[in-house]
Symmetry: C2
Subunit: 195 residues, 2 copies
DNA sequence: GTCTATACCAAGATAGAC
DNA sequence: GTCTATCTTGGTATAGAC
């Protein structure tokens, strides 16, 4: 049965965001049309413009929400006293947070080039804040003498790149449990930075 | 002065590939039009179809060439006797090869979703061959007792992901020389897998 | 081999009725 | 708030002249 007219502002908004997130991740921002998004949601294309001024704003909104949620979630993790413990906590947090949102993560990395210059600047600064938090852990570990790192900036990026890689291969029905994945990666991270 | 008509098959072909590589990397496959590519090369859009049957074939050709060059280059690196030496050689090779071709690398990772199913299968199998080569080194190191790795498959992907990260931040005019970058990464890779 | 011209289709976005 | 209808632009690909 066809959908009738009427007002659904409370549910249509989130549904547009969910559909856009999934479609952008799957096919890429440029390859997805507003008509496709509308079809997924079950409305006509014109109706989307009650929720976003244009397609670019929709992309930016999805990306900034993701980065802000990431930061807020990490900020809410209890801060351990020793750098080694904090790095272990970070490793587990980062892997789990990212595996729970594969689409948002994918978009946050892949669609940077499709942001306007202004929007790009905003997202990049959010990312830098997150990275600085990680670098802070590494610096403290060096000061505490438990880490040996020639360049904490590079080590930060290397650790994050390594952990992000999990998203490219992990499948929940695969041979490894999340706990095992976390343990394996923590082993490598720990050895890589240890004194 | 406007370009005149005439035959330039020997130079136009490569120029189309170079332009497509750069534009796909910069804006994404879906966001780049055949008209844009033609404009970069200095021909009309219709002329492109003397060199590629369609846009998809152009993308696939760029990606498969890249993967085949990667494999051929690694195969030509002299094979050291000990796993530790081979892993060091791999680390340096991978970083340098990828930094020399940032556009091709970017495309090879980001545009997989824009390949047809058939083309995707081909590219994926080329990638798997390359990864298996790396895993072979890690397995040998474990047998030789110099590496301690709970899961060589994951370690392979982790090492490659870490090294690929260099492309996201390295700039030749930056504060670190290529040799220094290589040394820093080798330090982390070595520690991460060592017994 | 390249050109101009165009067929054909789908994109983003808007207008106005309900 | 959503609909239908449409404007305008730009996409891939092809045809036929030079």
């Amino acid at each position: 049965m066809a959908r009738t007219q009427g007002s659904h502002s409370d549910i249509t908004g989130p549904r547009i965001r969910e559909a856009a997130l999934r479609l952008f991740a799957q096919h890429g921002y440029a390859a997805v049309s507003m008509r496709q998004i509308a079809k997924e949601v079950g409305v006509q294309a014109g109706a989307l413009y009650n929720y976003t001024p244009d397609k670019q704003s929709l992309l930016f909104s999805l990306m900034s929400s993701h980065m802000e949620e990431l930061q807020a979630a990490w900020d809410s993790v209890p801060r351990a006293a020793y750098a080694m413990d904090r790095l272990r906590a970070f490793t587990g947090f980062h892997i789990r947070f990212h595996l729970e949102r594969p689409d948002a993560v994918f978009i946050a990395y892949m669609e940077l080039r499709n942001l306007t210059e202004e929007n790009f600047t905003v997202i990049e600064s959010l990312r830098r804040v997150y990275e600085n938090g990680v670098e802070g852990i590494l610096k403290e570990g060096v000061e505490q003498g438990v880490f040996s790192i020639p360049d904490t900036k590079i080590a930060t990026l290397a650790v994050i790149a390594m952990l992000n890689g999990v998203n490219t291969w992990y499948r929940s029905e695969g041979r490894l449990s999340l706990d095992e994945v976390e343990r394996v990666y923590w082993g490598m991270v720990q050895k890589a930075v240890s004194a």
